[in-house]
């Protein structure tokens, strides 16, 4: 019979959230450097910003 998993404690959950945050911040940099889809999305957004800026002048 499977042993029921002990529920995660509050402090363990907070530590888990901290780790997730640190990992997500590393992933954001990595994705930007290595993922062509992400690079293309940022390039589109950057282009839109420039167009919006030019239109408003």
């Amino acid at each position: 019979m499977e042993t029921p998993t002990k529920p995660i404690s509050g402090i363990e959950f907070v530590r888990h959230l901290m780790k997730v945050k640190e990992q997500a911040q590393c992933d954001a940099v990595e994705n930007y450097r290595n993922n062509p889809e992400i690079q293309a999305a940022y390039a589109r957004l950057s282009k839109k910003n420039k167009e919006n800026c030019d239109e408003s002048k």
Binding site: P7, G10, K21, D27, N31, Y32, I38, Y42, K57
Partner: protein
């Protein structure tokens, strides 16, 4: 002229981690991610909530160093938040980074922009906690809708979180 508080345009990237991207006028590239984090709340079986951790990251800052003030960043994050958030279901947890000793200032700033932006809708509500873990002070916020069917119970669990062992 561009409105100083007008949100930047953003894109949603499909995937289980709910990633949104935007870039500023000086090309600082932001990523806003909503990571599924229901584990802890799921232990309380009566609570029907989908909990996500919101993480705001800088993917690229060409200029380097401290980020210059940009009044369009906060409205953009709030618009992204509204795009993702489902009032009857979602609960968002947010941690302010305190590893460089500026957690308290970030927490205050986050609260400030939340109340400034939320005044337009007034549906969402925010609860703040400081959890002490050894020598670390961790600044936490929970954001949810006043209309969430389990609002009271979720807030109760959040406010007790990390106090069980004491």
């Amino acid at each position: 002229m561009t409105n100083q508080s007008e949100p930047y345009e953003f894109e949603f990237v499909a995937g289980e981690q709910n990633v949104y991207l935007f870039t500023t006028g000086i090309d600082i590239k932001y990523e806003v991610k909503f990571v599924p984090s229901s584990d802890y709340f799921n232990a309380y079986m009566e609570v029907d909530a989908e909990v996500f951790e919101m993480v705001i990251s800088i993917a690229d800052n060409l200029a380097g160093g401290r980020l210059p003030s940009d009044e369009r960043v906060a409205p953009t994050i709030f618009v992204i938040f509204e795009d993702f958030f489902l009032a009857q279901r979602h609960v968002i947890v947010f941690i302010c980074d305190s590893t460089d000793g500026r957690g308290k200032a970030r927490h205050r700033k986050f609260g400030h922009w939340f109340y400034n932006e939320n005044v337009k809708t007034d549906v969402m509500t925010k609860f703040d906690r400081i959890v002490v873990d050894g020598s670390n002070r961790i600044y936490l916020s929970l954001i949810m809708s006043r209309l969430h069917p389990n609002a009271g119970r979720i807030v109760e669990i959040f406010m007790r979180m990390g106090e069980e062992e004491k």
